[in-house]
């Protein structure tokens, strides 16, 4: 691997983890679409900040853009509180308004710099290694890496410091308020973090794909974890895997790195959705099939038990009678009888089915329940 390749993957991984951490709280708070709103409307802040500061990687620019993100959240809430507009519609009204102002500002006044609409939508990671941070004449690495590492550190500190408060306010805002942990303060704290992260990630992957990195890794991890701490850890790991694998797919196919990374988040989500242990689609289908066979076996044993030693047992407990009595297709009946026989619950005397002691016990237990 060349140095720029390593640098790009490092930046991509830092973006992915920075996005995944607050993203976990967004999906738990059912606010996934707020990431979409914030990641778009920060464009105004970036545009205005850029005219004032003239440097795309300046921390001050991050600040001005983050403020726009928080402004978006406030405006959405203000509009929702009038009760004339629902929250989803309010989001749909506010962020395109701010985003379009940003687009107009950029197209009118910044047509000749790196800040253009393509970059806004898609970002360009491939160029990140060219923008170096030089301190006292020494090149110490790409600026983007330092910016993202700083944001990652900030997110980690925020979540570590307020882990308990975030958990409580997300699970039960009422109790959080009653205990004196202002849910409003926690909400805006989180929204500030989301905004700052969106600004940083925006330069690398563009505003559209920020959403993919904030939502898909946590949504994927949610399928396979059942503790908040493991959700955070698993989302971060999945984010890094998506970032690195996305980079190499882009490298192999010669396509956009950001697009490829976002595609990988989708691939991993679908794969997990299908193949997750316990909660994945495949294991649910397999479990249902297994349960069906087990239940059918129990039915068979109970049927045999009820007729055992009674007159007519030769007819009732006859292989051919199962279709009539239990409404089983001959194929299915054969499978179930075979399975019960292998388990040692029944034995066969020609076509007559006999319970073993073990089968009798299972039948008795099934009936007690």
């Amino acid at each position: 691997m060349t140095a720029p390749q390593i640098e790009i993957q490092l930046i991509a991984s830092a973006v992915a983890v920075s996005c995944a951490l607050p993203g976990c709280f967004l999906i738990l708070r059912r606010m996934a679409m707020m990431s979409d709103a914030i990641s778009h409307s920060i464009l105004v802040g970036i545009a205005v900040g850029f005219f004032l500061i003239r440097d795309l990687a300046s921390p001050l620019l991050v600040l001005s853009a983050a403020l726009t993100g928080v402004l978006t959240v406030s405006l959405v809430e203000l509009l929702t509180r009038t009760k004339r507009v629902r929250e989803d519609a309010a989001i749909g009204l506010i962020f395109p308004a701010l985003f379009s102002i940003g687009v107009i500002l950029i197209s009118r006044y910044a047509g000749d710099v790196h800040l253009d609409v393509d970059a806004v939508l898609l970002g360009e990671l491939a160029f990140a290694p060219f923008n170096r941070l030089v301190v006292l004449g020494v090149d110490i690495g790409p600026k983007g890496l330092y910016l993202m590492a700083g944001i990652l550190l900030l997110n980690l500190l925020f979540i570590l410091a307020f882990y308990k408060e975030l958990k409580l306010a997300t699970f039960d805002a009422g109790l959080a308020g009653a205990l004196g942990f202002s849910p409003v303060a926690i909400h805006y704290g989180l929204m500030t973090i989301v905004s700052i992260t969106a600004v940083g990630a925006f330069d690398a992957v563009g505003s559209v794909l920020v959403v993919a990195l904030m939502i898909a890794p946590p949504a994927t991890a949610y399928l396979i974890t059942d503790r908040l701490s493991s959700l955070l850890a698993a989302s971060s790991l999945i984010g890094v895997i998506c970032a690195v694998s996305g980079y190499w797919v882009a490298h192999a196919l010669d396509v956009s790195i950001a697009g490829s990374m976002a595609s990988m988040t989708g691939v991993f989500f679908v794969a997990t959705f299908l193949a997750a242990p316990d909660r994945g689609l495949v294991s649910i289908v397999l479990r249902r099939a297994r349960q069906r066979v087990e239940f059918a076996q129990t039915m068979l044993l109970v049927h045999l038990y009820n007729h055992e030693g009674l007159p007519g047992v030769e007819r009732e407990n006859h292989m051919d009678h199962l279709g009539e009595h239990l409404r089983w297709e001959p194929d299915f009946a054969g499978r179930i009888v075979g399975a019960a026989e292998r388990k040692g619950s029944i034995s066969r005397d020609g076509a007559l089915l006999l319970l073993t002691e073990r089968g009798r016990e299972t039948a008795r237990q099934a009936m007690v329940m």
Binding site: L28, K83, A161, F162, K164, E165, K167, L168, T170, F171, D172, G174, L175, G177, A178, L179, G180, F181, Y222, T225, D226, R227, L228, S230, L231
Partner: protein, 263 residues
């Protein structure tokens, strides 16, 4: 009814004065006055939309009143937070949240821990004790999405117990629980009262009011009556609260059911 325990004068555990709360222009609570003495089990009853949940939330400052004043043992809620335990409606939270039973119960200690404080061994121990009290110790490590309705309610009660408060506000703890859990909760409430705790419970089943509670507040936006059950829980007040549809006391069996949760 138990009197104030060793306190000078009859200081109320909860005192609500002239409380008015409005959502928009519509008043939800209108000039409510109420004084709950320490050491009583009080039911708050009233039809849907009577403002029962709002009353609890206003006592804890979770909704801002238009007018009025609330005090806990003579001081505003803000300075008495530690003395108040809260059991919200069971369906007010997301039970698919990725966490364990023990972890939810430990949340009751967060108020004492304050900002930045970390739950540790002491909190774990308190939570286990509370879970034992509500008969849920075996399920401490379970993911909360696997709990039944009754078990969820027990978890919430255990969480309130670890708050180790003197005043408890419970929003419909009997809603959607089975008979076993209902009995267990009643036993727990009476135990709390014998320890001198004051418990205010939003309740829906009129028939069990005299059996479970010793004080009652009848609420329908206005406070119709508030006092000991034998004085306040009378036909006239019930009729004023529920609008003439109720014939509880004359027939001693409510024909209509009122067991619908508030929205």
């Amino acid at each position: 009814m138990t009197g104030p325990r060793g306190m000078a004068g009859a200081e109320s555990a909860i005192r609500v004065e002239d409380l008015t709360v409005a959502y928009g222009e519509k008043p939800v609570l209108w000039d409510v006055d109420m004084a709950v003495p320490p050491g009583v089990l009080m039911a708050v009853i009233g039809p849907n939309g009577a403002g029962k949940t709002t009353l609890i939330k206003a006592i804890m400052g979770l909704v801002r009143p238009v007018a009025g004043y609330v005090s806990i043992f003579g001081k505003p809620y803000l300075s008495q937070r530690r003395l108040v335990g809260y059991v919200p409606q069971r369906n007010s939270v997301d039970w698919d949240f990725p966490t364990s039973v023990l972890d939810v119960v430990m949340m009751g200690r967060y108020g004492v821990l304050g900002w930045f404080g970390r739950p540790g061994r002491a909190e774990r121990k308190a939570a286990m004790e509370a879970l034992t009290k509500v008969g849920m110790a075996d399920l401490a490590g379970r993911q909360i999405s696997q709990l039944s309705g009754g078990q969820q309610q027990r978890v919430f009660l255990a969480r309130a117990l670890v708050q180790d408060a003197r005043v408890y506000l419970m929003d419909e703890p009997f809603q959607g629980v089975d008979a076993t859990t209902e009995r267990a909760i009643v036993t727990l409430l009476k135990e709390m009262r014998s320890e001198g705790k004051t418990v205010l419970v939003v309740h829906h089943d009129l028939q069990t009011v005299p059996e479970y509670f010793d004080w009652v507040t009848l609420l329908n936006v206005r406070c119709v009556a508030s006092g000991p059950v034998e004085k306040a829980f009378i036909d006239r007040n019930l009729r004023l609260t529920y609008g003439g549809r109720v014939s509880y006391l004359t027939h001693h069996a409510a024909e209509e059911t009122f067991g619908h949760p508030e929205e």
